[in-house]
C-alpha cells in the first residue's frame, strides 16, 4: 500500500496547492515542499529498513509489491513493485522535486498554485513510471507526465527571441515523446497479442510477458518499438531534437526535473523493460546501441562547445552524459550497469546544480547569453565557486560522483568493447573543454559590466551546499548505491550471458 501512497501523495499535494493559491502566495510553495519532502522521507525510510541482498533462487526480486485488478477485460492490473533501482530513483525524484520547489521560490511570480500543481503532477507521474510493473500502467504514467511538463514549459517558460518559441518548444517536446510513446504502445500490444495467440491468456503483466515466445521475425521490431520510445526520452542523438529547446525555454524547476529525473525514466525503462523483455534481440542490437551512444557522447560534447545560451550548453552536455549511460546499459556488464546507475544519480545532482545556478544567474543579470556575461567571478560572491565545483563534477573530476560513474562504465565495458571505450574516452576530453569554456566565458575574462551583485541568500546556500555534499558523498563512498542496485545489475547482466558480455560478469564479480 505504501507504493500507492508514494504515487498518490504528489497528485493530492498538487490539487491542494491549486486550492491553497487563495490562502496566500507562500502557501502553495510550502505545501509543495512538504509533499516532496514527505515522498523523500518515505523512500529514505524504505531504504534504511530495506534488505537489498541478492535474490536467492525462488525469492522475489522485489522489495515491495502491490497488485489489484484494474481492467480485467485485458488482464490489466495495477501492479506496483519496488526494487533497489526504483527506490533510488524515487528517492531522487523526491529530493529533486523539493529542490525544484525551492529553486522556483522567487522565479515564479504568477499563478503559483497552478504552477505547483503541474510540478507535483510531473513528479507523481515519474514516481508512477518508476514503480509500475504492468506494461499498460507503465505506458499510462509514461504518457501522463508529459501533459503537466508541457504546461510548465509553455506557460512559465522563458520566451526566446521570437515571441512564441516556448510554446513551440513545449509542443515539440510533447509530439516527440508522445509519438514515440505510441510506437511503444503498439509494440506492447503486439507483444500482448502474440502471447495471447500462444497461450490464450490476455495479460499485460511484466512477469508473464517476459515468458512470451515471440517469433524471431517480429521480435527485433518490437524491441525497436521500445527502444525508440526510450531513445527519444534519453535522448539518443538522432532523436534529440526536442531537448535543447525544451531546456532553454523551460523555467529552472522544469529544467531541473527534465534533466534530473525525466531523462532517467528512459534509462530506467531500458533496464526494467527493454532488456528483460527482449534479451537476445537487445544483445544483438548492442553494437548499434553502443554506436549511437558514442555518437551522442561526441555530438553532444562538440555542440555544447559552440553554444551561446548557458542552458542550451548544459542541455547538450546531458546528451553527452546519457551517451555513457546508453553504452553501459548495452554492455551487459554488471559493473558498467552499476556505473550507469551511479552516473544517473551523479548527473541528476550535477546538472540540477548547474541549472539552478544558471537560474540564479538569470535572476541577477536577466540573461542566459554567455556573450554578455564574463568576469562575474569578482562581481558575485560564492556563486562562481559553486559553479566551479559543479562544472568540475560534470567533467568527471575524481572525488565527485560523476567520476565514479564514468570510471565504472568505462572499466566495465572495456573487456567486451575496447574500441567503444577508447572512443568514449575522447568524450571526457571534450567534457573538460566545454566545462572550461563555460567557466571561462561566464566567470572569468573581461568584465562585461561593473558593480557587485547580490550573493546567494540562505535558501540558495542551502540548495547548493546540499547538492555539493551529495556529489562528494556519492563520489567518495558510492557503496550504498552499489549495494542497493547489485541485485538488478546482476540480473540484467545475466540476460546477456552467452553474448559477448559473459566473461565480463565474472570479472566484475571479482572486482566487487
Amino acid at each position: 500500500m505504501i507504493l500507492v501512497w508514494l504515487i498518490v501523495i504528489p497528485f493530492l499535494g498538487g490539487l491542494l496547492c491549486w486550492y491553497a493559491d487563495r490562502l496566500g502566495e507562500q502557501m502553495p510553495r510550502w505545501i509543495a515542499l512538504a509533499t516532496m519532502l514527505f515522498v523523500l522521507v518515505i523512500s529514505l525510510w524504505l531504504w534504511v529498513t530495506g534488505d537489498f541482498a541478492l535474490p536467492q533462487g525462488g525469492q522475489s526480486q522485489w522489495l515491495l509489491e502491490w497488485r489489484t485488478d484494474w481492467i480485467p477485460r485485458f488482464g490489466i492490473e495495477i501492479h506496483l513493485a519496488m526494487d533497489g533501482l526504483s527506490l533510488i530513483l524515487v528517492a531522487l525524484t523526491g529530493f529533486l522535486g523539493a529542490l525544484a520547489v525551492l529553486c522556483s521560490w522567487h522565479e515564479i511570480g504568477h499563478r503559483i498554485g497552478f504552477f505547483h500543481l503541474n510540478l507535483l503532477w510531473i513528479l507523481g507521474g515519474v514516481v508512477g513510471v518508476f514503480l509500475a510493473l504492468d506494461l499498460f500502467l507503465f505506458f499510462l504514467f509514461w504518457e501522463m507526465m508529459l501533459v503537466p511538463m508541457y504546461f510548465l514549459i509553455a506557460l512559465w517558460g522563458h520566451s526566446g527571441s521570437a515571441g512564441q518559441t516556448r510554446i513551440r518548444a513545449a509542443t515539440r517536446f510533447f509530439i516527440y515523446t508522445q509519438a514515440s510513446g505510441l510506437l511503444m504502445l503498439v509494440a506492447i500490444l503486439a507483444l500482448v497479442f502474440i502471447h495471447f495467440g500462444n497461450t490464450g491468456q490476455l495479460s499485460f503483466s511484466y512477469d508473464v510477458l517476459r515468458q512470451a515466445e515471440v517469433p524471431e521475425a517480429v521480435a527485433p521490431w518490437l524491441m525497436l518499438g521500445f527502444f525508440v520510445a526510450f531513445a527519444v526520452k534519453l535522448p539518443v542523438v538522432p532523436f534529440h531534437g526536442w531537448l535543447p529547446d525544451a531546456h532553454a525555454q523551460a523555467p529552472t524547476a522544469g529544467s531541473v526535473d527534465l534533466a534530473g529525473i525525466l531523462l532517467k525514466t528512459a534509462a530506467y525503462g531500458m533496464l526494467r523493460f527493454g532488456l528483460p523483455l527482449f534479451p537476445a534481440e537487445s544483445s544483438a542490437f548492442a553494437p548499434v546501441a553502443m554506436t549511437l551512444g558514442l555518437v551522442s557522447i561526441i555530438y553532444g560534447a562538440v555542440l555544447a562547445c559552440g553554444q551561446q545560451d548557458i542552458k542550451r550548453l548544459i542541455a547538450y552536455t546531458s546528451i553527452s552524459h546519457m551517451g555513457f549511460v546508453l553504452i553501459a546499459i548495452y554492455s551487459g556488464s554488471e559493473l558498467a550497469i552499476q556505473g550507469a546507475v551511479v552516473l544517473m544519480v551523479a548527473h541528476a545532482f550535477s546538472s540540477a546544480g548547474l541549472f539552478i545556478l544558471s537560474g540564479q544567474l538569470y535572476e541577477r543579470i536577466h540573461t542566459r547569453d554567455m556573450r554578455i556575461m564574463g568576469g562575474l567571478w569578482g562581481r558575485i560572491p560564492a556563486l562562481p565557486g559553486f559553479t566551479l565545483f559543479f562544472v568540475a563534477a560534470s567533467l568527471g573530476m575524481p572525488a565527485t560522483a560523476n567520476f565514479v560513474g564514468e570510471f565504472m562504465i568505462l572499466f566495465g565495458t572495456f573487456p567486451s568493447a575496447p574500441v567503444v571505450v577508447v572512443i568514449a574516452c575522447s568524450g571526457l576530453v571534450l567534457a573538460a573543454i566545454y566545462s572550461l569554456i563555460l567557466m571561462q566565458r561566464v566567470h572569468f575574462g573581461p568584465e562585461y559590466r561593473n558593480g557587485i551583485l547580490a550573493g546567494p541568500d540562505w535558501r540558495e546556500y542551502f540548495m547548493m551546499l546540499t547538492l555539493l555534499a551529495l556529489v562528494l558523498l556519492v563520489g567518495l563512498y558510492p557503496q550504498p548505491i552499489l549495494d542497493t542496485t547489485a541485485g538488478l545489475a546482476s540480473l540484467t547482466a545475466e540476460l546477456f550471458a552467452g553474448a559477448p558480455g559473459d566473461q565480463l560478469t565474472k570479472l566484475s564479480g571479482e572486482v566487487r
Binding site: 481492467i71 477485460r73 501533459v147 509553455a154 506557460l155 509519438a179 503486439a190
Partner: protein, 477 residues
Amino acid sequence: MLTAAHLFTLLPLIIVGATAVAAMLGIAWRRHHAGTALVSAAGLIVALLLLPLTYPAADSPPLMQVDGLAVMAGALILLSALVTVILSHHYLTGYIGPREEFYLLLLCATAGALALVASDHLAMLFISLELLSMPLYGMLAYSFRAERSLEAGIKYLLLSAAATAFLLFGMALIYARTGYLDLAVLAGALTGAPDLWMLAGAALMVVGLGFKLSIVPFHLWTPDVYQGGPAPATIFLATVSKLAVFVVLLRLVHAAPVFSSEWLQTLVTVLALLTMLGGNLLALFQANLKRLLGYSSIAHFGYLLVAIVAGNALATETTGVYLVTYLVTTLAAFGVVTLVSSPFGGEDADGLPVYRGLFWRRPYLAAVMTVSFLSLAGIPLTAGFIGKFYVIALGVAASQWWLVGGIVAGSAIGLYYYLRVIVTLYLPEPGMRRRDVSNDWGSRIGGVTLVALAVAILVLGIYPAPMIDWVQGLSAG
C-alpha cells in the same frame, strides 16, 4: 405481423415519437420554451429508462433487429439527444424568433436514429436514414437570418441528397442481383464469390454512408456545415447522426459477406488511411474552433474505420467503446462552445481568440475544455485514451499494420492542434474581449451537464472496467 411483444420492444421509439407529437401540439396550443424543452427531456429520459427493459427481445419486430448493438447505440443516442436538448435550451434562450420547433426537429431526428441502428432491412434503413437527415436540414438552417447557417443547411441538404442517390443506386444493384432487401436473408443468399454488380452495389452504399460519416474524400461539406450550423445542431450532427450511420455500416459489414470481400476491404483501408491523415492535416492550421472540431471528428471516424476493416469479434466491442468515449468527449468539447456562444447572438463564438485566457476567467469551464481536448488527443487518464487503446489493439490483433501506422501518425499530427487550443486557454488575456460566459454558468443546468461530462471523461479514463463490461455484454448478444 406486429404483436404486443413487438410493440413493447418498440416502446422507446414510440415514446420519442409521441414526445415529438406532444411537442408539436404544445406549440400549436401555446408557445412555451422552457415547457417544450422540459417535455422533450422528459420523453427522452423515459425512453432511456425503458430501453433496458426491451432487451433481450424475444423476437424483433418486422424489418428490425433489436439486438445488443441496437440497444447500446440506442442508449448512446438518447443520452446524446438529452444533452443536446439541455444545451439547446441554454443556447436558444436569447433567440429571436420561434424557439420551440427546434426540439420538434430534434425529437424527429432522434426517432430516425433509433430506428436506423435497429434496421434489418434495406427499406427500413433508407426510411430511417431520411427521417434522421430531413430534420437535420432544418436544425442546421435554424438561425436562417445568419447567412452561414442558411448556407450550412442548404449545403447539407444538397450533398445529403447526392449521398442518398448513391445509397439508393447501391441498394438497387444489390436488389437486382439477389432479389432480397432483407439483411438476414441477404447474408444467406450470397454464398459464392461476389461478382462485379454486387461489389459495385456495396461500394456505392459505402460511398453513400461515407458522405454522412464525412470520410475523406467525401468530407468537403463538413467544415462549412459545422461552422455554419447553430452549435446544438452541430452537436447533434457530430454525435447522434454519425453514431447511427456508423452502427448501420458496421451492421451491413457483419451481415452481408460482400462487404468483407477483399476488394472492398482494401477500399475501406485506403479510405480509413486518407481519413485519419486528411482530417488531422486539414485541422492543423484552423483558427476556427468549430471547423477544427469538424476536422477532428473526421479523423476520429478514420480511426474507427479500423473496426470495419478488421471485422472480427473484437470489432463490435471496439466500436462500442470508441463511440462511448467519442460521444462523451465530443459532447463536452462542443458543449463548451455552445455555452460560450449562449445566449444566441447571431454568430457562434468559434474563433480561437475568444477562448484566450479562459482559464483565468472561468477556471472550471476551461478545465472542462482542457479535459475534453486531452481526451480528443487520446492522452492517458481520459476516456479518449481508452478508445484509442482499443482501436490500436484491434489493429494490432488483426495485423493491419498500415492502419496502425496511420493511427500513430495521425495522433502525432493531431497533438499539434489540440495542444494549440489547450494552451490558448491558459495564455494571458488580451486587453479586450468580445464575449464571455455568464457568471452563473456553473449553477445552470447546461453548466452542470458539462461538468458531469468532464467528470465522466475522467472516470471512464481512470476506471473503464464497468463501461467495458457493459459494452462487451451487449456486443456479444
